[in-house]
């Protein structure tokens, strides 16, 4: 068994928890002292940094949500002056304001360490040729994986997403041994390989590190069989740091959360009560090393469970189960976070269109597709086909520019989309993930 950083990854829990407490206390002091929004939230519940005397005291701290990031847009939650911020990333978030995250140079280095750990766990080494097909740019996937791969000393091919035929040509010619991308893109690459007449045995690919969207065990088997590689799940979110928060080891029985950097909790999404180990609920993460943007009890909205037992691989860090779903109505489509509310605000801006809609997500030929059903109200109805088709195209264009992904619009009859007293069902996900 090889580890990138054995001392940290296999640290006995007793020591790990001491390290966590010290780092948590430091983080809470800094957040309280330098971020007015955190101070205010803590004062509201009557907690002071010195009240955090044990790891369990984390329960006293208020939660942080995506809304807090929006309310403090763009840099309001930063705990360092901008002169110390060396990188800014942002979510694809589109209704109103995106969520913005910042990094100090030490943050970038910790992130690279986390990604190095993750890639190493999937079998990478300085001899690997890592083809990084996560998107480069504001999205954290591309640069996150890139820095980790360089940290290891591997040879990185920064292909980013798209231009699949060329990617495959490079994969063959450069002898890529590890692929990093979304799981659905990996399967799409396989389809294109077949079209090009290239077999997995023509390639040197050994493993893939796949994330940024939920995927099932079935999909893992499919990827592993078709591409003849080992497929590892990686977890992360930009609010916390980006990819590298948790990674599978070769046991593939849960993802190890880097507990020397983050404290995980599982809560009941309704009552917010902390759940005992092993129970399913919403994953809450606290960063304990981040300088620029400390996140205290951030509600990820991802549903999972925690297992604190030492893994067969020897790592002591808690394992989270593959994400089981969401506690809100967000769907991840081709790595892009889509909230139904984004669709709603686009529709409300088109005169005469009523915000009665349904998102239908499906996976066809291994690519996610979003179809939006929109009701035709009397105000927008025309007896001319051309006008109706133009309406569909206009809605499609505006949704695409707001969401950043291709959208098919289907016009449906008035009052055929289910109305609900409480929470309307806005999403049908047919992907079986």
């Amino acid at each position: 068994m090889t580890y990138w950083d054995k001392e940290k990854e296999c640290m006995p829990r007793e020591y790990l928890e001491k390290l966590q407490l010290r780092r948590l206390q430091e983080t809470v002091y800094r957040a309280y002292a330098f971020v007015p929004a955190y101070k205010e939230k803590m004062e509201q519940v009557g907690v002071k940094p010195e009240d955090i005397r044990s790891i369990e005291d984390i329960k006293l701290l208020p939660f942080t949500t995506k809304q807090d990031l929006r309310d403090n847009y763009p840099f309001g939650l930063f705990a360092v002056p901008m002169s110390d911020v060396v990188r800014i990333h942002s979510s694809s978030g589109t209704t109103g304001k995106p969520t913005v995250v910042g990094y100090t140079s030490k943050d970038i280095d910790s992130w690279a360490e986390l990604m190095a750990r993750a890639l190493y766990s999937a079998g990478a080494s300085r001899y690997s040729v890592i083809q990084n097909s996560y998107g480069y740019g504001l999205f954290t996937g591309g640069l996150g994986a890139h820095y980790g791969a360089e940290k290891i000393g591997a040879s990185v091919i920064p292909t980013s997403g798209g231009n699949t035929r060329r990617q495959i040509m490079l994969m063959q010619d450069f002898g890529s041994s590890i692929l990093t991308c979304t799981p659905s893109y990996a399967l799409f690459m396989y389809e294109v390989m077949r079209e090009m007449g290239i077999k997995p045995s023509d390639l040197k690919l050994k493993a893939g590190v796949f994330g940024a969207e939920p995927w099932s065990e079935n999909m893992r088997r499919e990827i592993e069989n078709k591409l003849e590689i080992d497929a590892y799940d990686i977890y992360g979110l930009s609010e916390i740091v980006g990819p590298g928060v948790a990674i599978e080891c070769n046991v593939k029985n849960g993802l190890h959360i880097a507990e020397d950097h983050f404290i995980p909790e599982i809560i009941d999404p309704e009552t917010c009560a902390v759940m005992p180990e092993g129970e399913a609920g919403e994953l809450v993460l606290t960063t304990i090393t981040k300088e620029a943007l400390p996140m205290i009890r951030y509600r990820t909205r991802d549903l999972s469970t925690l297992n604190l037992a030492t893994c067969d691989c020897g790592r002591t860090h808690a394992r989270m189960r593959k994400v089981l779903g969401r506690s809100d109505d967000m769907v991840i489509i081709r790595g892009v976070n889509v909230f139904p509310s984004m669709v709603e605000s686009v529709l409300l801006n088109i005169p005469g269109v009523e915000p009665h809609y349904l998102l239908v997500v499906d996976r066809r030929d291994n690519l996610d597709e979003l179809e939006v059903h929109v009701e035709v109200s009397e105000q927008v109805f025309s007896d001319e086909v051309r006008k109706m088709e133009n309406l569909g195209l206009q809605i499609g264009r505006e949704l695409e520019s707001a969401l950043g992904i291709a959208v098919k619009v289907r016009l449906v009859e008035h009052k055929t989309i289910e109305r609900s007293e409480g929470k309307a069902k806005r999403v049908i996900d047919k992907r079986n993930i």
Binding site: E378, F381, D383, V385, M388, R410
Partner: protein, 142 residues
């Protein structure tokens, strides 16, 4: 001038049957119809004996429905009859959105329902060129 009832229909089994059943039960007679369809939806266009009532019953049955002004033109029921009407419209640069045939006839003439871009202009041209068209009350009674 005449009123056409236009109905939005999804391409789903039984929708057309449902519209016609609703109209039938309200005692409304369909005199002409056409359907424009795309892969996802269709637009049903109807000339009925009582457009106001048809509009209301369809609305009550929760269809997306609208009233559209069309013009019912008398066309000589002989080879080239429609061509000569269309040629005169083309000459006068009168744009046609769509047209479809009416089930009945008027004397020796066939009837064609036209949706034009500019209905006032169409009337003027038809009057000038001696092209006959029906008024509403006559049409609904045919």
């Amino acid at each position: 001038m005449a009123k056409q009832i236009s109905v939005f229909l999804e391409n789903k089994v039984g929708r057309l049957a449902h519209v016609t059943r609703v109209l039938g039960e309200a005692g409304i007679n369909i005199r002409a119809l056409s359907i424009a369809d795309t892969s996802d939806f269709g637009i049903l266009r109807l000339i009925v004996n009582d457009p106001a009532k048809a509009y209301q019953v369809l609305k009550d049955a929760r269809f997306t429905v609208s009233e559209t002004e069309v013009i019912a033109v008398q066309v000589p029921d002989s080879p080239g009859g429609l061509a000569s009407v269309l040629e005169q419209m083309t000459e006068q640069e009168l744009s046609i959105e769509y047209l479809y045939a009416f089930l009945g006839t008027r004397g020796d003439d066939a009837l064609v329902i036209f949706k034009v871009e500019d209905i006032a202009k169409a009337r003027k041209i038809f009057n000038e060129k001696g092209i006959k068209f029906l008024d509403e009350s006559t049409l609904y009674k045919l």
